[in-house]
Symmetry: C2
Subunit: 228 residues, 2 copies
DNA sequence: ACATGCACTATTGTATACAATTATACAGAA
DNA sequence: TTCTGTATAATTGTATACAATAGTGCATGT
């Protein structure tokens, strides 16, 4: 499935208890299962998931760095909560960073990665025409992943992967729309062509808009109401 | 010292063992004490710092999310390392985000925070004239902190704090220069004025340049050679 | 010599036990 | 009543014990 590239910087390994706990809590927060400021107790969550406190604690530490919970020493862990405004902010920030990524990728991309990018778009068209939404999602992920790698910036790559992971939960509910999938493909294609033409400004601008569009689509599909 | 605002989102609490371990390892990585790809063993580090594996493990999890180490499940933790190129990237990314922050702050800043900003600059001039570099550093931190808060974006605030923390280590060696301090003040003042005039474009641009200048200064003072 | 398998070691993953801290409730005095 | 102090409980922080996994080296067979 999403194993080849997903395991790269992923010690979110879904097979360790900590990884499972981490994913579960993050999902529960992003899906609104926990209320804001709700206190998360180590033992309670441990029992709920059938694990001891240790993996729960480790997951907590990670969740805090992601800003999803706030840990007050010797006191407890409290859900930060995520409002529509936050989601919007995250998309705006991501938009800028994806733009920067496209810019850097334009300068640094290798011949091989450029070919992979073209292939990706070719395949995406193929699956879009046939309505294979699962493959489309996979290819969408991979498209951005290629750009991250092509930016040749370890840190930008790292940050954007985090954002991506972060938003996956939200997207799941909404982005399955085939219509958006097709529009997204077109945008990918334009970004790819800008990169191929070595037009960094254009690539950056298009990547900016691409993320904004994704956000707009999500919002139009009623995201605002689903959470809060 | 730096206690009032530092403790806000800081479960880096320096008084817990985990917090100390986290800080120590991060410092050691950023200062080049560990070589790239060096394996960090839980027991070894624990013994070195006189603590058990538990806090070390928790610190590892956090360090991984910051991208400073890479954890391969069941295998080990390896230092990611940080090259001059990475530092440059980080500054470029931070430059964009500080720009965005200044933009949002321009729109959202409260009267009270605006006054605090003006006061900050007034005080900075005062201390710059007298060569109080310690207070200057403190005020510099606070200036940016105010902007983060004024952006009214929980997430941008969170991210920028991370970056700030991250770069503190590097800055320590270099930014003590009083000359740069004075130049920095001027830039702060211009940013403040742009915000006061509600000129978001200008504020964004100035904040961008401010960070770039800070980077240039650091580079000129021989950072490239200090690490690697 | 070389490959293969197995025992052993080293290291991480998880669970549990103990210590420290914080919140709570209740008793007693002003 | 209200405040305060103390005992108690609940919760997190840390250490240690045990389990699982991966790496190492040696012996053995070809």
């Amino acid at each position: 499935m999403s194993s080849e590239y997903g395991s790269k910087s992923d010690s979110n390994d879904k097979y360790s208890l900590r990884g499972r706990v981490f994913k579960k809590i993050r999902e529960d927060i992003l899906s609104g299962h926990y209320r804001e400021s709700e206190e998360l107790k180590e033992v309670a969550i441990g029992e709920e998931l059938g694990v001891s406190r240790t993996p729960v604690r480790e997951a907590f530490r990670q969740l805090e760095l992601e800003g999803l919970i706030r840990i007050i020493p010797n006191k407890g862990a409290y859900v930060t909560g995520i409002r529509p405004k936050d989601v919007k902010d995250i998309y705006m920030i991501r938009s800028m960073l994806e733009g920067l990524c496209a810019r850097w990728a334009t300068v640094n991309i290798s011949k091989k990665k450029m070919e992979e990018l073209e292939e990706n778009i070719y395949l995406s068209d193929f699956h879009a025409a046939r309505g294979h939404s699962e493959q489309l999602t996979e290819l969408d992920n991979r498209f951005h992943e290629i750009l991250y790698e092509a930016s040749e910036s370890k840190f930008l790559e790292h940050i954007l992967r985090d954002f991506h992971q972060y938003l996956v939960q939200v997207r799941m509910k909404n982005l399955a729309s085939l219509e958006r999938g097709r529009a997204s493909n077109k945008e990918h294609k334009m970004i790819m062509e800008a990169i191929k033409e070595k037009d960094a400004d254009k690539a950056e601008r298009l990547a900016n808009e691409h993320i904004i569009n994704a956000y707009q689509n999500m919002k139009n599909n009623g995201f605002e109401e689903t959470i809060e």
